[in-house]
């Protein structure tokens, strides 16, 4: 019984982890290559989910909605890049934080106007409905397993692109020394655009997958954004590998903390006190982890070379 419970929570933690990785990957790439803090990355996650809602109601097919929403998320990311972000690359971090904060305010409210403030949802595709039996009378949802698989597959794909292709090579070079890359004749603006659009699409992908199991509502990107920042700071900014490791770490720590922290405290505290302290510690566990990591390794676990 307990072993199954732990297994279920580990799976839940992995599922949160891959979701965070998809958001954090774009964030860390954009930061690593362009030295650009994009607070608006979370709203791209939210937009992915909302676009999927709309395309699902138009097509009635989850996978068609997925593809269309991905394309729309990509297009939207490129439009945002063109209108706002492009003008901020050579500004300091404070300006970037403020302007992208403005984008968050605008899009959160815009979504509320277009889609309404009430939470929306769309169903899990039939193909992925049902559960995988884990014990008598209890199974783990196939959809969540599919999310983990899709997330891991994306991670592998990303790894292959970054380490095995020419664009990936430029991205790595850009993260280490963007000026040198530019001096060698690479159109750095185009590279920025590609990285940006790709990051927006990954965040959108995470949002689309999260749509059926979480509620789609304005502001849903904000909490994910903060978590994604924790992920990339722990992982080392600019490092995809670091983002992957720390996304899974954060996903597991957060999920397991919330499930078991109260019980752990009950071992040596009075039940009333444990019920009080447990949830509090559980919700700040990842921030404690981050503060601890930064205390001992001020540039994260896997600092990208050259910064």
């Amino acid at each position: 019984m307990t072993a199954t419970l732990v297994a279920v929570q580990v799976l839940n933690g992995l599922q949160l982890g891959v979701l965070l990785f998809l958001v954090a990957a774009g964030l860390t790439l954009v930061f690593g290559v362009m030295d650009f803090i994009n607070l608006a990355h979370g709203v791209q996650y939210m937009l992915g989910a909302y676009l999927a809602v709309t395309f699902y109601s138009l097509t009635g097919n989850f996978f068609a909605a997925l593809v269309l929403a991905l394309l729309a998320a990509l297009a939207f990311g490129l439009v945002l890049e063109f209108l706002v972000f492009r003008h901020l690359y050579d500004r300091d971090h404070l300006d970037q934080v403020l302007a992208t904060f403005g984008v968050i305010l605008f899009l959160n409210e815009g979504v509320r106007i277009v889609w309404g403030a009430a939470p929306l949802s769309y169903p899990i595709p039939e193909l992925l409905q049902g559960t995988i039996p884990m014990m008598e009378g209890f199974g783990y949802p196939i959809y969540r397993v599919a999310m983990i698989v899709a997330g891991l597959a994306t991670a592998v794909l990303l790894w292959a692109i970054v380490t095995r292709t020419r664009v990936g090579m430029l991205v790595r070079a850009g993260a280490t020394n963007p000026r040198m890359v530019s001096a060698l004749g690479v159109d750095i603006r185009r590279l920025f655009m590609i990285v940006f659009g790709f990051g927006a699409m990954l965040a959108g992908f995470a949002g689309i997958m999260a749509g059926p199991i979480l509620s789609v509502e304005p502001g849903m990107g904000d909490s994910v954004l903060i978590l994604a920042f924790v992920v990339i700071v722990i992982g080392g900014i600019g490092s995809i590998r670091g983002a992957f490791v720390s996304a899974l770490l954060i996903g597991l720590v957060d999920t397991l903390g919330r499930s078991f922290m109260t019980d752990i405290f009950k071992a040596f505290l009075a039940p009333a006190a444990a019920n009080q302290v447990g949830p509090a510690i559980a919700s700040m566990l990842i921030y404690l982890l981050m503060a601890g990591v930064l205390f001992f390794r001020p540039s994260g676990l896997f600092p990208a070379a050259g910064r």
Partner: protein
């Protein structure tokens, strides 16, 4: 032409704060005469946030420490007063120092860790500490938890109730703001303040000259935390309510906006920024509930085209134009 410019900027240094002080002092009389009592409460709130923004400007504008968790100090100050009231301690002479010391202690503790990091890591670690404070407040189920804690009244001073009357409270807050402003001015002008600004310009050189940047920055961080704690204590009294939302990261973002909007590193800019931000919010939200749709792009435009904020516009029109 250096002398007139200097004279003009010295003029702005004192004329803007003085004009602000006179205008703020006149608000209750004008509001009562025009039968707009709500304005007193609004401007009280604006001034409370101005104190918090002022404290942030002290470290952000002069020390280049981009604290993204500044709202935590505000919230801790507010909770100190709120929790004390829940235990039937209403005397401001007791609760306000508790609020200030509590916020200062939190700043000292978190600053000691945060200031080991630089740049974006500093932004993120202060955010993390802000979130910790937020979740701690949310989990205080004895004191309202997520829903917040209602105070059944305002603080007293040895049984007297100078805070109960809105106009009297207004002047208390104005006095706090003026006091904080003068204190911050003194800090910035002192040898200590010059070291802080020196570290902002060139950390290595300051070290070479023999200063310990870390210690100076930490003290500045704690001072800013204490000042924000005072703002929090006033905020709790103003709303007669404290809630975890005082510490949300959006609130920290708003404080940064206020400072940048008004112009960093001027002190009176932070006050102007608080006035501009909250007035804009008030006006736009009367106009439409979706005021953020207008405010967001406005913020982007300010960042892109009005560098230096409102303060620099004033300086430009006062100095060069």
């Amino acid at each position: 032409m250096s002398r007139p410019t200097t004279a003009a900027s010295t003029g702005v240094r004192w004329s803007v704060p003085l004009v602000l002080l006179v205008l703020l002092a006149a608000v209750p009389a004008v509001a009562n005469a025009a039968d707009m009592g709500f304005a007193i409460s609004l401007v009280t709130r604006v001034m409370i946030y101005a104190i918090a923004a002022l404290s942030l400007d002290l470290i952000l504008g002069y020390g280049a420490m981009v604290s993204f968790g500044h709202a935590a100090f505000l919230g801790i100050g507010a909770y100190a007063v709120g929790i004390a009231s829940a235990h039937d301690e209403w005397n401001a002479v007791v609760t306000f120092p508790i609020a200030i010391v509590a916020a200062g202690a939190f700043a000292l503790l978190t600053g000691a860790i945060s200031l080991r990091t630089r740049g974006v890591y500093f932004i993120m670690i202060t955010l993390a500490f802000g979130q910790m404070a937020y979740f701690t407040a949310s989990s205080l189920s004895d004191y309202g938890g997520d829903d917040g804690l209602t105070m059944w009244g305002r603080s007293e001073v040895f049984g007297a109730t100078p805070f109960e009357d809105d106009t009297a409270f207004y002047y208390v807050v104005l006095a706090c703001l003026a006091g904080c402003f003068l204190f911050a001015r003194a800090v910035v002008g002192s040898r200590f303040g010059r070291v802080i600004a020196g570290v902002r310009e060139n950390r290595l050189r300051m070290q070479a000259v023999g200063f310990n940047p870390y210690a100076y920055q930490l003290v500045a961080y704690a001072i800013a935390g204490m000042m924000a704690g005072l703002a929090g204590a006033l905020l709790a009294n103003h709303a007669e309510f404290v809630s975890p939302s005082y510490m949300s990261w959006q609130r920290s973002g708003e404080l940064i906006i206020m400072v940048v909007l008004g112009g960093m590193g001027t002190l009176h800019g932070a006050v102007l920024g608080a006035i501009a931000y909250l007035t804009l919010e008030e006006v736009l939200s009367h106009w439409t509930e979706h005021w953020r749709v207008i405010f967001g792009p406005l913020l982007i435009l300010v960042v892109l085209y009005a560098r230096g904020g409102l303060g620099s516009l004033l300086r430009r029109s006062g100095g060069d134009g």
